[in-house]
């Protein structure tokens, strides 16, 4: 019929999104954004028992220009916030953010003057990982979920379409206030 019948054996027919997704999700290099206790668990994930190196991620780049992933691990204080943003801006596209631990996701137990209540006030977050601190296995799970997300992320026009749909869904969703949880 078309090219799919005439193509010699061995050529894989695929989309650019597939190829790029596969390529990007392997060997994401994290930037050293280790702030507090979660940083120690992140280092433990890099240790031999939990071995982040099987995903090609043991090279924590000090320079954000070499890094793809920012794992915000620990509480973000107001003094640290501008630096967090600068580091995020210095990273090259494509870049992703995992907010590790409750302090990075929402301020955690520190609901006070000194801590930014969630690093998503400062940088856009792809995966939120709760825990105080999350076990290394939990961090690996978050990384694997991120890999899935990257694997299937749309590109180009599809990406704009997906962003528009996500925004519409968010605008139409029930606010947390009005949701009836176990109290209803």
């Amino acid at each position: 019929m078309g090219i799919e019948e005439k193509a010699p054996a061995g050529i894989a027919l695929t989309t650019i999104e597939n190829v790029v997704g596969l390529a990007r999700r392997t060997s994401l290099w994290p930037v050293t954004m280790g702030l507090a206790c979660c940083a120690i668990e992140m280092m433990a994930t890099g240790g031999p028992r939990f071995d982040i190196s099987r995903f090609g991620m043991e090279v924590f780049r000090a320079s954000p220009r070499h890094a793809d992933l920012m794992i915000v691990s620990g509480r973000v204080s107001h003094r640290m916030a501008p630096i967090l943003r600068t580091t995020y801006d210095s990273m090259m596209e494509p870049k992703w953010v995992i907010s590790m631990g409750v302090c990075a996701s929402s301020g955690g137990m520190f609901n006070n003057y000194a801590v930014v209540q969630g690093c998503d006030h400062i940088v856009p977050v792809d995966i939120y990982l709760p825990g105080c601190p999350p076990r290394p296995e939990m961090l690996l799970n978050a990384i694997l979920m991120l890999h899935e997300q990257i694997r299937h992320s749309p590109l180009g026009v599809n990406r704009e379409e997906a962003a528009r749909r996500a925004e519409e869904a968010a605008l139409a969703a029930t606010p947390t206030h009005d949701m009836k949880g176990l109290l209803a």
């Binding site: 107001h78 003094r79 301020g107 609901n111 006070n112 003057y113 947390t176 206030h177 949880g181």
Partner: protein, 245 residues
């Protein structure tokens, strides 16, 4: 400070007969009303009219017990040798829970620290730092700077020096010349309480950003915090919640 009877002079202190525990006078630092920490919380229990006076352990009279007397007497002696009247320097001496606290008048804190460090029978070499406590109810003496010093030569004696300064004029001489390790501790006390240490080489903020306004650990500074939303409920931040205190 509400003192019912005047503080005895050191001469009287040294020769006065031992006073029983029950006669120790207490220091009022505040009044608390109501059972719960919040007023106007819709409390219909009737405990809203409860009035409680909060008192800290007050001035003790000698003998204080263990090594406290020795240190007190030597310090009094050293101060007299330097031409100072100990009653004008040491406001109060409190021996409570196996710890000895000397309340020092702020102008003399450097002299006292130097005496405590240098005299061979005192030898409090290690300063463990200074921190602040804010007692808003202690009119005229709201900010307390608390120094902890330790004598390694004499077997780990721990002494506390407390200096009170009013909110209106929160100045205190810096003891960095005597204990250089107090450098950052004084900066932190300035940062979080607003106690200004005169003579400090570089009084800058340690914890908050350099352009922050306010001193966060004072009692009149809010905890700051946002209400947390859950499905169908909101939990207010910790300092605006009804709580038990």
């Amino acid at each position: 400070m509400s003192d019912v009877t005047p503080t005895p002079t050191p001469d009287e202190l040294v020769t006065a007969p031992p006073v029983p525990e029950s006669a120790r006078r207490l220091d009022v630092i505040g009044q608390r009303s109501g059972m719960f920490g919040r007023i106007g919380s819709g409390d219909t229990t009737g405990f809203g009219g409860l009035q409680r006076t909060v008192t800290m352990p007050g001035n003790s009279t000698p003998p204080f017990g263990s090594w406290f007397d020795e240190v007190y007497e030597i310090l009094v002696e050293v101060l007299r040798e330097q031409g100072l009247d100990p009653a004008q320097v040491i406001e109060k001496a409190v021996a409570d829970r196996d710890e000895f606290t000397l309340h020092i008048v702020r102008t003399h804190i450097v002299t006292v620290c130097r005496a405590l460090r240098d005299d061979q029978d005192l030898r409090f070499e290690l300063c463990l730092g200074v921190s602040g406590v804010h007692y808003p109810a202690d009119q005229g003496r709201e900010l307390h700077a608390v120094y902890h010093i330790m004598s390694l030569t004499h077997g780990g004696r721990l002494l506390r020096l407390e200096v009170s300064v009013p909110d209106a004029d929160p100045h205190l001489p810096s003891v960095v010349d005597v204990y250089p390790g107090n450098d950052w501790q004084e900066r932190e006390t300035w940062d979080l309480f607003g106690i200004v240490f005169d003579g400090h080489p570089a009084l800058t903020r340690t914890a908050m950003p350099d352009d922050w306004v306010g001193h966060p650990q004072r009692k009149d500074y809010p905890l700051g915090g946002i209400p947390v939303e859950y499905k169908g409920a909101t939990v207010p931040p910790a300092d605006t919640r009804r709580n038990f205190s």
